[in-house]
Symmetry: C2
């Protein structure tokens, strides 16, 4: 039985050695909220142990962020974070490794004018477009891991005494990321290999389309020619492997921008920009969202979809079995990093350049010509359930079951 | 009797309204360590209340800083903080207001190779030269205020129970900054006026030189033609008043770079770059430090003096009466912001452009030609005592007492 400190140490080791896979001489950039400082300091130590030349920590403060939304004048939200963007761009261009510690409070922005939030997200998204482009082409190593904050833990375990919420969330995280095993780094190598086997099998099939069927979903998603199924384990421009998020249970590819038709319903709440969108459905025609309805967060959903032209289309389709460790924990995390790995999901917004053959070196125009979507946003939402069946449509029109009752057929 | 919260609120009000004097529409930049987040959030709120367009918080983490000095490879310390410098420069050029929350642990760098620290300080100082130039010409509003950290409080009150150290340091700060008065903003206006009266009186005298005398000090400091005595209350390029640090008890001017002769002994420990230099003396000939000796921190002192050519010379001479509130508290703060306001002091390194007539618009070369010192560093050290006498030498060679037994004569 490992102590808390041992598990925390292994988790940090995983984040730095498997996730970001920091190499000797690299700059290692950690973005985190100040509440996670103790975990961040452990990551910094691991980064230097891995040989980092410098570990740069970019701290944010959610209370300061919220004060801005509450108190700043309107024009404030049109100021792009240009220095932040320029710095990250240059670091990425010079092969730094990036790690984001996710700890957001799901209800942080409750009561804030959603117009302000979406203005901010648009301004921010536009400023960060180049960095996102680098990320979506796997130019550099980048990863995301979670760290409990007290607000987040309270949202996940509302019925536990306050003193136990954070430690319970830590234990759930340790289990989900396999930090409670004796050799988590080796366990991760095997896990990534298993996911890669699924991706290879799907790539060999070269399906023309996927058909999602469940009681509240009937959606056909065409796949572009040359699409590539990937998993979070990837390789950057320098040839260094990394894992874009920990945990990960998905294999995913890009849909054909104009080839999505039918209706899809969410199966878990979506925490987006500090607000919750829940029990929603989207209707597609030739790829475009032509109707949508949310029982909770309709305004927020509307603002997400109308962020730009590309946010009316999908950019990712991801397969996750219902019987995955995170899903089986039965915990609703209210954070995409975890909930997306407990459920098949789609993403509204831009697609990943590496999801199409030759995409990593294509210009945005070339990617668009190949049916790949471009947007300043990319937001996953969960639509898998134990009743989800998924069929692949082959080149000669045959239907093959990929998922039945929420799980892989093969 | 005001509550802790009331005093804290008044202190934050002073920092934002009197120190930085944030104006409607301005960007307000706060630099602080993460341990001071609660105070920072109050400053952010006050900043928006004052009409700031945006409050940017630049958080640092002393533990992360120390880990770098412990673990990073040598070449790390030659990497300039170029993005940080470029961002601050541009913000300053565009009339942002700047506030630094000082909370450093005096012993943070204990045991760290001083060579690494001085390499870092040189790299940092060079990168920040332009920003420092703006600051030293009062281009923008800038201020510094203190906030207790537990390490700092433990250093100041080592004999108190740990639970009382921080609150005791807060109370000492509130008293020193007059936050315990009913209307601290008005009290500060009067205080700045009193200091200005002293500065005006000295400016009218146009002394050729000052002569400092005490049992362990005998130092003559020539003053350049057109020198200006100033106090921390100043006016930026836009005509907005601000106070460069709170508290402040000094009036100060620039020495003639090549006109300092004799010997000066420190009267308080100097906390410099996370190390302590104590019980030291410096010997000057034609302005240059030709000999120095510290009973504690000799290595650190040597590295400070050899930082660059300008760090062999003085850049500031400041008069502070022994009977000032901070001095009378009898507390040794181990932080320059407080200790310099309890004692006459000198600064090793660059002088302030506003301390000479027309200096704010002079180039570095013009300033040098007027006898003003230039350096990438500026470090105050305390040399006043209750036995310090100071004489002014007039144009026709007469000696007039300015301080006797540590206090103003007039």
């Amino acid at each position: 039985m490992l102590s808390f400190e041992q598990k925390l140490d292994r988790y940090a080791e995983l984040a730095v050695r498997v996730g970001a896979n920091v190499q000797p001489g690299q700059v290692f950039v950690i973005s985190a909220m100040i509440d996670t400082a103790e975990f961040v300091r452990l990551l910094v130590r691991k980064g230097y142990e891995a040989g980092a030349k410098q570990v740069i920590v970019k701290y944010g403060d959610e209370t300061v962020n919220r004060l801005r939304f509450e108190m700043a004048p309107e024009e404030s939200f049109q100021e792009p974070p240009k220095w932040h963007a320029a710095e990250l761009e240059e670091l990425a261009a010079n092969n730094a490794a990036f790690l984001t510690v996710l700890s957001s409070s799901p209800d942080l922005m409750k009561g804030i004018d959603p117009e302000r939030i979406s203005t901010h997200q648009r301004t921010y998204g536009q400023a960060m477009a180049k960095y996102r482009q680098y990320q979506q082409a796997d130019k550099m190593s980048w990863t995301g891991v979670a760290c409990p904050s007290s607000d987040w833990a309270a949202k996940v375990f509302p019925d536990l005494p306050a003193a136990e919420q954070v430690s319970q969330l830590w234990e759930a995280i340790f289990a989900a990321v396999r930090a409670d095993l004796e050799d988590p780094v080796a366990a991760w190598e095997q896990h990534i290999e298993r996911l890669e086997t699924k991706a290879v099998a799907l790539n060999n099939k070269k399906y023309q389309a996927l058909h999602f069927l469940s009681p509240r979903t009937d959606l056909t998603v065409e796949l572009p020619e040359g699409h590539i199924w990937a998993q979070a384990g990837s390789v950057n421009e320098q040839g260094t492997p990394f894992v874009a998020n920990i945990p990960t249970e998905e294999v995913f590819t890009a849909p054909a921008k104009h080839g999505v038709n039918g209706k899809v319903s969410s199966t878990k709440p979506l925490s987006y920009g500090g607000s919750i969108i829940d029990r929603f459905s989207l209707t597609f025609e030739n790829g475009r969202i032509i109707d949508f309805h949310a029982e909770e967060g309709q305004d927020t959903l509307e603002r997400l979809i109308s962020m730009d032209e590309g946010s009316h289309y999908l950019g990712e389709v991801a397969l996750v079995p219902f019987h995955s460790p995170i899903s089986e924990s039965g915990i609703l995390y209210y954070t995409t990093l975890y909930d997306e790995n407990a459920s098949c999901h789609l993403a509204i917004g831009s697609s990943y350049a590496f999801n199409i053959e030759g995409g990593k070196t294509m210009s945005p125009e070339e990617l668009a010509a190949r049916g790949m979507n471009t947007s300043i946003t990319h937001v996953d939402f969960m639509m898998g359930s134990p009743e989800t069946d998924i069929y692949g449509i082959t080149a000669n029109g045959e239907r093959e079951a990929i998922f039945l009752k929420g799980d892989w057929v093969f």
